[in-house]
Amino acid sequence: MRVLLAEDDELLGSGLRAGLRQHGFAVDWVRDGVAAERELLTGQHAVAVLDLGLPRQDGMDALAAVRAKGARTPVVVLTARDAIGARIQGLDSGADDYLVKPVDLGELAARLRALVRRAHGAADTRLTLGEVTLDPAARQVWRGDQPVVLSLREFDLLHAFMRQAGRVLTREQLEQQLYAWGSEVSSNAVEVHIHNLRRKLGGGLIETVRGVGYVARRPPT
C-alpha cells in the first residue's frame, strides 16, 4: 500500500518512513505543504499522513484545498497541536483521523489500515474473494483453510485487487499503487507478480482484460 507522508522534520520523517516500511507500506515523503497538496491531488496514494506545521503551506490549508477539489484520499493528521479546537478544525477540514505527537508506530499503521479499509466500504478487517482470504494487518493470505506464502509485492498486488474487486486496473495504476517514487520497476514486473499469484491461488482469481489491464471479479453468489 502506498502512503503519502508530509513531514518537514528530518528526524521524524525518516523514522516514519522506515517504520511504515517495516509495516509493509510504500512511503512517498514530501517536506512541504505545496508538495503535499500536489501529491494528494494525484490520488495515487491509498492513505496520507499529514503534519500540520509545514513550510510553504500549512497542512490544514493543503487538506482543505484538496478536499475542495474533490480528492478523497484518507488523511491522518499527525501534529503537535493538541488543543481541542485544533482537533475539531482538523477533522472539519477533511481529516479522517487526528493523532497528536508522539505516536506509536503500531497504532499509526493500524489506523492507516483501518482508514484504507473503510475507504473501500469494508468493515471487516479481512478481505475475502472466492476461496481466497487476505488479512492486511497480519499480512497473511489463505486459500480455503491453507495459508499461502506470498512475497511482499505479491501480497500488495493481491491486496490492491481485492480492495478494488470488480474494477479493471491498468498496469500503470497497479504500479502507482505498489511502488514508491524511485523504486526500480522493470517493465514486466506486474505481469510476473500476477503470474505468480495465479500459480499460488488458482488461475480464475485474476482475469486479463485484453488491451486494458486486469480485474479480480467477485464470483456470482
Binding site: 528526524l11 521524524l12 523514522g15 516514519l16 517504520g19 517495516q22 512541504d32 508522539p102 508506530l105 503500531g106
Partner: protein, 458 residues
C-alpha cells in the same frame, strides 16, 4: 511591629479640627483684649462720673452733718466698690465696706491703681475747695477682680457656645470625610473582589478625579501583567508543542530500531534516536536560557546592578576553541579577529557567552559544509562602544524571513537544519535587556548572513 498605616480620615479630621480650634483661640484672644479695653474705658468713665457727682453733692452739704453711711445701692458688687469723702483731712463719708484710710495717697489725682488690704483697686480721685475754703477730696474705687469677673462672664456668653459646637463639628467633619472617601473604599473593594485571573482594566467612570491617576496607573500595570501572563502562557504552549516533535522522532526511531530486521537498519535508527535526544536536550537548554532571561526581565532593573565588565576577547576565544571541533567535523573553520588588548563590555561573562554561542551556533548550523565563519571584534568609532560581527557563508535570509527572525520558534524552512528557532529569540532578548543594537544584513565578504552587535559605551 509594623508602622500603623496613615489614615486619611484621621489626618483630615485632625487637620480640620486643629484649624477650627486655632481659629477659635485667636478669636477668643482678640475678643478678650477688645472687650477688656472697652470695658475699662466704660467703667473708668463711670468712676469719674460718680466721683464728680459725689463731689458736687458734698459741696452743697452743711458742715454739721457728720460722717454717715451711704445708702445701700449695690448688692452683688457692694463689697467690690467703695467711695470716701474727705473734708480737710477728715473722713466725712464712706461706703459700707470702704476702708478707713484713704483709698489713694494724698496728691494723686484722677485715675490710679492702688493696693489696699491685699486687694487691687481702680481709684478715681477728685479734689476741690468749697465755698468756705475747706478742701474736699472724693475717692471712688472699684476692685479690679470685679472687672475681670464681668469680663469673664461676657466672654463666657460669647465663647461657650463655640466650645459646645466643637464636638458636633468633629462628628460632622468625620462623617463628611468618610463620605468623601467612600469612592476610594468602593474601588478598594472592587480590586479586592477581583479574581487573580481578571486582568482587564478597571472602569474609570464614577472614580473621583483625585483617584483617576491611581486607577490609570493600576490599569497600566494590569495591562503589563496581562501581557506578561499571555506571553508566558504562549511560551509554555509553544515550548510543549516544540518538544513534541523531537520526542515523537525519538519514539519513532526507537520503534524502528525495535522492529528492524537488519543490523544496518537498526544502527541507523539508533543513531537517529541519539540525534533526536541531542536535539531535545539542546531545545531544553535553550528553553531554560530563555526562561531565565524572561525571569530577569521581570526584575525591574536586571542589567544595571549585576553587570560586571567582561572581556569579550577572552569569551570569544574560549567559545571559538570550544566550537572548533564540531566545526571541523563538517569541514568548517572559525576565523577570529580581535584586538590584542582586552575589550570590556558591560555584561556578565555568562550572558556574553550565551549571546556569542547562539550567534556562532547559528552561523555554523546554517553555513555550508567547508564554509568559513568569521568573528570580528572591533571598537565602534561612532558610539565609542564595542562592535561584534559574526558572518557566515550560508544562504542568508530573504526579506520576509529577516522580518520574522527572532519570533520564538521561527526557523528558516527548507534549510534542512533541525534548529529550534530559539537561538534568535535568546539573542534578541539579551539585546533588549542590555540595550544592544542588533543589525542583520548580507555579509559582503562571505555572502551569507552578517550579524552585527553594538554594545553601548561601557
Amino acid at each position: 511591629m509594623a508602622a500603623r498605616p496613615l489614615s486619611l480620615t484621621r489626618r483630615l479630621m485632625a487637620m480640620v479640627l486643629g484649624f477650627v480650634l486655632a481659629a477659635w483661640l485667636v478669636t477668643a484672644l482678640v475678643a478678650w483684649f477688645t472687650t477688656e479695653h472697652e470695658l475699662s474705658e466704660l467703667l473708668d468713665a463711670h468712676l469719674a462720673q460718680t466721683t464728680a457727682l459725689l463731689l458736687a453733692s458734698e459741696l452743697d452739704v452743711p458742715v454739721e452733718d457728720d460722717a454717715r453711711p451711704a445708702p445701700v445701692l449695690l448688692r452683688k458688687y457692694q463689697s467690690r466698690v467703695a467711695f470716701q469723702i474727705w473734708r480737710d483731712g477728715r473722713l466725712r463719708a464712706r461706703s459700707t465696706d470702704a476702708p478707713e484710710e484713704p483709698l489713694a495717697p494724698a496728691g494723686v489725682q484722677g485715675l490710679s491703681e492702688q493696693r489696699l488690704a491685699g486687694k487691687r483697686w481702680r481709684v478715681f480721685t477728685a479734689e476741690q475747695a468749697d465755698a468756705r475754703g475747706s478742701a474736699i477730696t472724693v475717692h471712688v474705687a472699684e476692685q479690679l477682680s470685679a472687672r475681670r469677673h464681668v469680663l469673664l462672664a461676657s466672654l463666657r456668653g460669647t465663647l461657650l457656645p463655640l466650645l459646645l459646637v466643637l464636638p458636633l463639628l468633629a462628628v460632622g467633619v468625620g462623617w463628611t470625610v468618610r463620605r468623601a472617601l467612600r469612592p476610594l473604599h468602593a474601588l478598594g473593594h472592587r480590586v479586592a473582589a477581583r479574581s487573580p485571573r481578571a486582568l482587564d482594566a478597571l472602569p474609570q467612570d464614577g472614580v473621583p478625579a483625585e483617584v483617576q491617576p491611581l486607577v490609570h496607573a493600576l490599569n497600566g500595570l494590569l495591562g503589563r501583567v496581562a501581557e506578561q501572563v499571555a506571553g508566558e502562557r504562549r511560551f509554555t504552549a509553544d515550548a510543549a508543542h516544540e518538544l513534541r516533535t523531537p520526542i515523537a522522532a525519538i519514539r519513532m526511531q526507537a520503534q524502528v530500531a525495535q522492529g528492524a530486521t537488519q543490523d544496518e537498519e537498526r544502527r541507523a535508527a539508533l543513531d537517529a534516536t541519539i540525534a533526536g535526544c541531542d536535539r531535545a536536550t539542546r531545545l531544553v537548554d535553550q528553553l531554560l536560557q530563555l526562561a531565565r532571561l524572561e525571569a530577569d526581565a521581570v526584575d525591574t532593573q536586571p542589567a544595571a546592578g549585576r553587570d560586571i565588565p567582561t572581556d569579550l576577547t577572552a569569551v570569544a576565544a574560549r567559545l571559538v576553541r570550544e566550537l572548533s571541533d564540531a566545526a571541523r567535523a563538517r569541514g568548517q573553520q572559525i576565523r577570529l579577529e580581535c584586538p590584542p588588548r582586552p575589550v570590556d563590555v558591560p555584561m556578565s561573562a555568562a550572558l556574553t557567552a550565551v549571546l556569542l554561542r547562539n550567534l556562532l551556533d547559528n552561523a555554523l548550523r546554517y553555513g555550508p559544509d567547508g564554509g568559513t565563519v568569521a568573528v570580528q571584534l572591533l571598537p565602534a568609532q561612532a558610539t565609542h562602544g564595542v562592535r561584534l560581527c559574526v558572518e557566515d557563508a550560508g544562504p542568508g535570509l530573504s526579506d520576509a524571513d529577516l522580518a520574522r527572525l527572532g519570533e520564538r520558534f521561527f526557523r528558516v524552512l527548507g534549510s534542512g537544519q533541525s534548529g529550534s528557532g530559539l537561538g534568535w529569540s535568546i539573542v534578541r532578548r539579551l539585546a533588549r535587556l542590555h540595550a544592544l543594537q542588533l543589525h542583520i544584513d548580507r555579509s559582503p565578504a562571505l555572502g551569507g548572513l552578517r550579524v552585527t552587535v553594538d554594545w553601548p559605551r561601557a
